[in-house]
Amino acid sequence: MSAITMRELTKVYPGGVRALDALDLEIADGEFFALLGPSGCGKTTLLRTIAGLEVASGGSVRIGERDVTNLPPGKRDVAMVFQDYALFPHMTVRDNIAYPLRIKKVDRRSRGSKAADTADELGLSGLLERRPGQLSGGQQQRVALARAMACHPQVFLLDEPLSNLDARLRLEARTFLKRLQRELGVTTVFVTHDQAEALALADRIAVMEGGRIRQVGTPTEVFRRPANTFVAGFIGSTPMNLIDARVRGDELSVARAGLPLPDDARGQVTDGERLVYGIRPEYLDYSPTAVPGALTGEVVVVENLGSVSLVSLDVPGEDTEETGPGRTSVQVVVAEGGEPEPGDTGWAVPRPGRSLLYRDGNLVTAAATAGVPAPRADAAARS
């Protein structure tokens, strides 16, 4: 049992920078967990505090049944893979992998065979006598993983595990990493600033900003139902369209178009209230002809993304007292074959059940059907 539990965890650096702000988080046993956020959001500090490389200013960290808040890193039974892999250049691959065992006073023969076994698992068997400098980036990463695995820690911590690999290798390593974690079943926490990486790898994601967690959930949850506009803007390869809207009776006026209220928001909003309407470009269907219940405007940019294109429509903004009638941009993902030309007039139809409403930056949901399931229930469901 090696769940990680953080309670009111706070880290204040000398000089007063509050990197972690009374943060509560539970990571289930065996879970592959992502800490995601822009740089400076505290995700690396959180990882290093779990490792013990940073000392918490307040709150507690528990791994399994042990309170490790005040334990030194070497006593926490965690292993970390650094962004630069931190392989010792003067040691062979074998000695690098066996290093933690050497510190734990395992005798030479058994740590050598242990290193060889671990290297085999990761497809490094022919490279044991090489130096790290003679390996490719992907091989170096696997040596670093092997070193972390060799002493069977309770928790793996990975700091930006894929960022030092080139684009093609990154996809390969991503698949490899996910399979490895599934096979080992060890609780793994990784830090990334790349939302695609977090969505692809993790069982659950914590999106962080300014030392706080803005949302915790499965990739599907954070993608489909971002809890606030920060998460909505951060997750997704194309950011969510966030457009000013006003409630008019049963309808929503968005960019001078009348759209149905999202199911969740029914009964939660008042007539005339001003909100933000959110819809992912992937959940808008493009139409070259007029359709009811659609956002409409002139096509200004068409970006080819391979199998699809990203089309930007210039739509009229909501007429408000402060800004007056403005213009705003709506992005639509269009399947190949149907791309318009710049200058065309297009209609974007939201798919039912995919649009969201935000009030003061937070998701408007029906209280009874509270959209985001509790993390605990979710973790239990998977295991």
């Binding site: 070497g74 970390m80 650094f82 962004q83 003067h90 734990k104």
Partner: protein, 305 residues
């Protein structure tokens, strides 16, 4: 002379990175070459020549020095005083440079590696101060510190009458030179430690490595080149250091007479310039051997890396 050795090529575009062309590059080099020639090469050659003569400061041989072949060298090697002096010099280098300056310098640099702010600046300031003060001032300070009757050290320890300079002359100059030269090693190691990636130290810490194990497995392999360069430089400097003369003057009874002091006494006090020059040349050879040993070790490191 240099111009003669390297004929100037025609108007072809300059092949060097700075675009100077051979002629102008030579022009820039000549002044430095002349200075090196006049003040380094000629005196060195002159010393070698003097070493095979019976040249003296005064007397008949001062006017008409005669070439005596290797007599000076055989005399030096057979001289008990020379051999003792050589031994003392080795003690001095080992004690004050290799163990004292390098050891203490590394210890301070390692202790301060993650510190920023006033503590670091104060420590570094004091260490540097001991390095940049003129030798004569420093010598006076140390004599005042170690004096038998009115010395600061005896007053601090409450043991008046302990004659440090008379009873422990070698220990005194070793401690003195350690204090004097630690700054260089400290600064060099502080810079070297910046090259040790944090993640490497942290990997060792996560594995549970002690401070000593981190030094052995992460730090030293990484800064081996810096260590060797540092040891090479401070060994040579210490080997040729004359400052201890200002404190003990080689005494008492030649018990702190390291080679530079010995040469000074033989050549200038004793007036035997030829003999002194011969010993100087022997020192030069020893320096060369020290340098070659270190360079060899550095080279081996590059091969293995």
């Amino acid at each position: 002379m240099v111009e003669g050795a390297r004929p100037v090529t025609g108007a072809s575009p300059a092949p060097d990175a700075a675009g100077l062309g051979r002629a102008r590059a030579t022009g820039f080099l000549v002044p430095a070459m002349v200075l090196i020639l006049v003040f380094l090469v000629v005196p060195a050659a002159w010393t070698i020549y003097l070493g095979v003569t019976n040249y003296r400061l005064t007397g008949l041989a001062a006017a008409h020095p005669e070439v005596v072949g290797l007599d000076n060298y055989t005399r030096a090697l057979g001289d008990e005083r020379f051999r003792t002096s050589l031994l003392l010099t080795l003690q001095f280098v080992l004690g004050s440079a290799v163990i004292g300056q390098a050891g203490l310098g590394f210890a301070i640099a390692f202790a301060l590696r993650d510190r920023r702010g006033p503590l670091r600046r104060v420590v570094e300031g004091f260490v540097l101060l001991s390095w940049i003060l003129p030798s004569s001032v420093v010598a006076f300070l140390w004599i005042a510190l170690l004096d038998r009757d009115a010395g600061t050290l005896n007053a601090l320890l409450g043991i008046p009458g302990t004659a440090w300079l008379l009873d422990h002359p070698m220990l005194s100059i070793i401690v003195f030179n350690t204090w004097r030269g630690t700054a260089f090693s400290m600064m060099l190691y502080a810079a070297a430690l910046e090259n040790v990636p944090r993640s490497h130290l942290e990997t060792a810490r996560l594995a549970g490595a002690s401070t000593w194990q981190q030094l052995r497995d992460v730090v030293f392999p990484r800064i081996r080149g810096h260590v060797l360069t540092n040891l090479l430089l401070i060994s040579l400097w210490t080997f040729n250091d004359f400052a201890p003369f200002l404190i003990t003057a080689g005494g008492p009874e030649q018990r702190s007479e390291i080679l530079p002091v010995y040469v000074y006494k033989v050549a200038l006090s004793g007036g035997e310039l030829g003999f002194g020059a011969a010993i100087s040349f022997v020192m030069l050879l020893i320096n060369l051997v020290i340098a070659l040993v270190y360079l060899r070790m550095l080279g081996r490191r590059k091969e293995s890396a």
